[in-house]
């Protein structure tokens, strides 16, 4: 393997340098211009795939979807320019409004709960306990599995009418609802699912807690500060950059939730649109109805919302995030 790479790279290198002006006398001064050209050429080679990806897969489609959002396009015929029509349709699309409401409730309930849980557990684990690695792994595992179809299937059973939760409740003589099939509770089960995946931010919090110098706590203890005060006056301020980071990341993630809602509701977003996440509705419009123009407009609305929240987060961070000394 190494020899293969070796041989390959040598020939590639030679042919690469062959294209540039005389190389043999490699004097620092003389090769200055050639050097720069060689650097640029190398950059082109190394960045070539990424650049192609930018044009074809990321930034290009981003611009294209902006264009399609002003058209009527069902993938078969030609697309027709319709101006702002798709955006106007959004104003009166009640399913879109449900989708926005569902998604906002999900984001603003599940993310704070998830982060609070993550911080609480991280603080308990940061006491130099034995078995830290094991606890960390156990709590982290749901983060890895939480987005999968299999776990969504599990959730559907666990919160179903005859599911695990109700079996346990029946044990205490309580007759439970069919949680996933009840419009008032279905979203709640997905919020629980997201809170369940608190392990990833917890690991980040743990790393952050490690960075807080013990002497701060020692000094505070000498001054007689109780644990509550130490938490609010040392831990929280010192952790604000990490809290901010987790907050931004989890909000962006939560806005894009799709799989769980799709599986739990069987792709419908039901019951009565109570789990119709924005991305699920986008999928229905774009790939169920092949209403590509409208789906593109929705995509841009989503981008605006996520971008807006991220921007507000960054602006607000000036007032509460504390970046050390």
């Amino acid at each position: 393997m190494t020899t293969l790479l070796h041989g390959k790279s040598r020939t590639a290198d030679d042919s690469g340098t062959g294209a540039k002006p005389p190389r043999a006398p490699r004097k620092a001064a003389a090769s200055r211009g050639g050097n720069r050209r060689y650097e640029n050429l190398a950059a082109l080679g190394f960045l070539g795939p990424w650049f192609l990806g930018l044009v074809l897969i990321t930034a290009g489609p981003l611009m294209a979807s902006l264009y399609f959002s002003f058209t009527d396009y069902n993938l078969i015929g030609d697309h027709q320019w319709v101006g702002l029509e798709n955006y106007e349709r959004m104003l009166s699309d009640s399913r879109l409004h449900s989708a926005l409401r569902v998604t906002f409730v999900y984001v603003f309930v599940s993310v704070p709960l998830q982060l609070a849980m993550a911080l609480a557990l991280a603080m308990v684990l940061d006491r130099g306990l034995r078995g830290l690695a094991l606890y960390r792994s156990v709590y982290y595992l749901p983060s890895l599995l939480g987005g999968s179809v299999a776990v969504a299937i599990l959730w559907r059973q666990v919160f179903g009418a005859d599911g695990l939760i109700n079996q346990v409740l029946a044990f205490f003589g309580i007759q439970g609802e069919g949680w996933v099939s009840h419009p008032d509770y279905a979203l709640g089960t997905l919020i629980v699912l997201n809170v369940w995946t608190f392990g990833a931010p917890m690991v980040i919090f743990l790393a952050g807690l490690r960075q807080i110098p013990a002497m701060y706590y020692e000094a505070a203890a000498v001054d007689g500060a109780n644990p509550v005060r130490r938490f609010w006056h040392i831990t929280v301020p010192m952790l604000t950059p990490i809290i901010f980071f987790n907050l931004v990341l989890q909000i962006i993630n939560a806005f894009q939730t799709f799989t769980q809602a799709f599986i739990v509701s069987g792709g419908t977003g039901g019951p009565s649109d109570s789990t119709l996440f924005f991305t699920l509705y986008l999928y229905q419009r774009g790939f169920g109805a092949f209403d590509m123009g409208y789906a593109s407009a929705m995509a841009w609305l989503l981008l605006m919302i996520i971008g807006g929240f991220t921007a507000v987060n960054f602006l607000a961070s000036k007032y509460w995030v504390f970046y050390g000394d």
């Binding site: 795939p49 489609p61 006491r127 606890y135 179809v149 695990l164």
Partner: protein
Amino acid sequence: MATKTEAPAPQKRTKAQRTRRLLIHLGLIGFGLIMLYPLLWMLSSSFKPTAEIFREPGLIPWSFTPENYTEGWNALQFPFHHYLLNSAIVVGGAIVGNLIGCSMAAYAFARLEFRGKRLFFAIMLATIMLPIHVVIVPQYILFAELGWINTFYPLIVPKLLATDGFFIFLMVQFIRGLPKDLDEAARIDGCGHIRIFCQIILPLSMPALATTAIFTFIWTWNDFFSQLIFLTSPDMYTVPVALRTFVDSSSQTSWGPLFAMSVVALGPVFGFFLAGQRYLVKGIATTGIK
């Protein structure tokens, strides 16, 4: 007393302290069990007859049966290993693609000087935050034009084109931490960038490459959205898409086989998690991903 406990010097702890620690441990274990209970229960239920799944909240499969697995394996149009194989192809391609594409881009950003570097780097960082839902429609149209719908190309080729900016960032951070003397020495010896990249940077970047491979594995294995969109016929279905058709087609009576196949679907992720924990935890701690 209030200081954070330190590992060295096994100090004698007071009795109160010890009880406190014990209580914390008990709390943590109890909480961990609650967290994992649904997963453990699914595992155990996959060995129960379906009727028992809906009656038995306990973990012990009293009437143990492997039947769910044999039944689930053959419940869909193709035997389940067909979907496993498809998933393996997609995941394998994505890993190779990410390793090649992202490491090349990362080398350019970390070690080369070229015009527009800062701008491109900023653009690259911005693409990390770009939701796939925003670009999926034009991507679909493009791949449809190329005749790539219902093939694995839309799931693999973009990786080769380094579209997972996140991994580029991860590797840039790593490569920046490598001593520059090594490549400078190689430059003086007349090595070009390709050789420096292949023979110095890549071998030294193994931890970052391993992290990339593990995360790519887990994310691609679990990925549902793009596989649902790009794979349209059952013979191309990957595990998540196949499982989804299983849910749709199954009635209350086939939860046993459904659970069994869900366990099969989670197995590889769990295996990679056990094998790559070190890299995973380090990766999340330094970059903050799921």
